[in-house]
């Protein structure tokens, strides 16, 4: 018996080994190397490692674009999650209801999430085009915009930021709704029935039964969405490319501009390192929420 357990122990390690080796070699080591790069002068052209201490952090800190990117990252993530949590709860409630044509509705509302982010951004690139925007055309028809004038959505700082947030919300609501839906369907039927029999209307059931019981799942959905928004560079890259004049960069897109476009790997790393403290906080929060979910 003891020998069998021993052999299972060996087998367990053997089966785990390939995945662990791969993750160590291609995530753990590169992670440490990237952080080490941020204290060096490594560039794409000159890979020799020379220690420069906090020099990259200092020059980033003095760069106004970095400051804006840092602020935008928090702004975009905060506003996106606020809007997403409200809309995703509505969508999740809709998707748990029974109605005709649900399959079609489900297909359509999930499209923004299942489409690659860069290609969703391509669709919006046309919607927000300075001359051809169909949104401008609608605004002309309803009289909110003078005929022939254009909003130039991506050409003005405020509108461009709002556009990035809008597209991010559009993309994340379906994901958050699906996660919240999983929580809503897990509420035992007898609780829902009891509330309905007691005469609780839709809104009271929503506020006093559904939302409190799904709160941990809502937290998971929000945190996942926040991590995605926080680390995503593809949307900004395709939609605005940081423009107009570097007004809409986020940390991830700015790190890319520095590291790949500019070839300055060390500075790119020093930008991206700023993502870590918040990711760590979000991770701890996710684990807590999941544990609470487990208990309920």
């Amino acid at each position: 018996m003891a020998r069998l357990a021993d052999r299972e122990g060996v087998l367990a390690r053997l089966m785990l080994l390939p995945a662990i080796v791969y993750i160590l070699a291609l995530v753990a080591v590169p992670f440490v190397v990237a952080i080490a790069y941020s204290f060096s002068d490594v560039t794409a052209g000159d890979p020799s490692y020379d220690w420069v201490g906090l020099e990259n952090y200092r020059s980033n800190w003095e760069d106004p674009v970095f400051g804006r990117a840092l602020w935008n990252t928090f702004l975009f993530t905060g506003v996106t999650m606020l809007l997403t949590v409200v809309l995703a709860n509505i969508l999740a409630t809709l998707l748990t209801a029974d109605f005709h044509g649900k399959w079609v509705v489900r297909f359509l509302v999930l499209l923004p999430w299942t489409t690659p982010a860069a290609l969703g951004a391509i669709a919006w690139l046309f919607m927000l085009d300075s001359l051809l925007s169909p949104i401008d055309w609608i605004l002309w028809q309803v009289g909110l915009l003078e005929d022939g004038r254009h909003m130039v959505w991506l050409g003005k700082s405020g509108l461009a930021k709002a556009s990035v947030i809008g597209v991010q919300v559009w993309r994340l609501v379906p994901l958050a709704a699906v996660i919240i839906m999983a929580g809503q369907t897990a509420i035992p039927d007898d609780i829902k029935d009891a509330a309905a029999v007691d005469g609780a209307g839709f809104w009271r059931r929503l506020w006093e039964v559904t939302i409190p019981l799904t709160l941990p799942v809502i937290a998971v959905a929000v945190l996942f969405g926040a991590i995605i928004t926080f680390t995503d560079m593809s949307l900004v890259r395709v939609l605005t490319n940081g423009g107009p004049v570097n007004q809409t960069h986020v940390l991830a897109s700015w790190a890319y501009v520095k590291g790949i476009d500019g070839g300055n790997l060390a500075q790119g790393a020093a930008v991206a390192v700023f993502l870590l403290p918040l990711l760590l906080a979000a991770t701890i929060a996710i684990l807590r929420a999941v544990r609470r979910w487990e208990v309920t």
Binding site: M15, I20, L111, A117, F126, L132, M233, A272
Partner: protein, 301 residues
């Protein structure tokens, strides 16, 4: 007797009113559901509907100032669709995506299946902590890792090669796959494998012949996730691929169908839509599985 009949007839009026009220409330809630469903569908699908319309628009129609963007002011044409398939790299991007996707699926399953089984079933003292650690790996941002990968890919001689993506994408898919499969393996009753082992299977044979087939729904979810990631991923693909023969859809379409300042709008939108629709279909077929896999991994991990 008369007392009884009074007892039942007296409240009929309020009951009748209550019933009518309930009915009205029911009708109102039905209408709300359909209105919300239609509004949500329109908001979500609006850009895709426009993409579908634009695909067949003639240049003179599309670029005419002030023309209605939602209808064909001139006869629709398939010339842009033809151009997309015959004169652009679109089909190459699709093939590259399929190739990278297939390889990533294979590597992910080879690494994640045994690892998840080991964590779910076998005696490992630090198994629980390890499961969580593997999940946390998923949260390390590509925006930071690309810095090191840029050197790594150069050292491996994989600059500007789609094989670079085959090496890198499992860093994203393996943690998720382990997490998903862990839940599925835990949901299989232990007795099934133990019975197989009593019948003379080794533990490894029980894993291959009994546990893996029973975790099939989870495997399908992993396949779809890993495969679509190859179409979704943008950062690594745009950082490490520069020639059009190597690009995948999510980086090839935005970079190659815009020449300088000239947007080939119809081709661009058609390509984006042609990629979006099949992926959405796949996801919809497997939605329930994803949702249950996600919760299982979370609840039982």
């Amino acid at each position: 007797m008369s007392e009884r009949s009074e007892g039942t007839t007296a409240p009929t009026v309020p009951i009748e009113r209550q019933r009518r009220q309930a009915q009205r409330r029911y009708v109102a809630s039905r209408i709300t559901v359909y209105v919300v469903a239609i509004v949500a569908s329109l908001l979500a699908a609006f850009p895709f509907i426009v993409e579908g319309i634009i695909t067949f628009k003639r240049d003179q129609d599309l670029y005419a100032p002030g023309s209605n963007p939602f209808r064909y002011n001139l006869d629709p044409t398939t010339e842009h669709l033809d151009f997309l398939f015959t004169s652009t790299g679109f089909l190459t991007f699709v093939l590259n995506t399929l190739l990278v996707g297939a390889c990533v699926v294979a590597i992910t399953l080879l690494l994640a299946l045994p690892a998840a089984y080991s964590l779910a079933r076998l005696p490992l003292r630090w198994g629980g902590a390890l499961g969580i650690t593997i999940f946390l790996v998923y949260l390390i941002p590509p925006s930071l890792l690309f810095v090191s990968f840029s050197r790594l890919i150069a050292n491996m001689g994989l600059q500007n090669s789609r094989w670079a993506l085959v090496v890198l994408y499992p860093t994203i898919t393996v943690p998720v796959a382990v997490w998903l499969l862990l839940g599925f393996f835990k949901s299989i009753p232990r007795d099934v494998e133990e019975q197989a082992m009593v019948d003379g299977y080794s533990r490894f044979a029980a894993f291959v012949r009994v546990a893996v087939p029973l975790a099939f729904p989870g495997i399908v979810a992993v396949i779809v996730f890993s495969f679509t990631l190859s179409a979704h991923e943008f950062l690594y693909a745009s950082a490490f691929l520069s020639s059009s023969s190597q690009k995948t859809v999510s980086v090839g379409i935005p970079t190659e169908l815009v020449l300088g300042d000239v947007f080939h709008w119809q081709e661009l939108q058609a390509a984006a839509l042609l990629v979006a629709l099949p992926i959405a279909l796949l996801f919809n077929l497997l939605l329930e599985r994803f949702v249950s896999g996600f919760t299982m991994g979370a609840v039982k991990g």
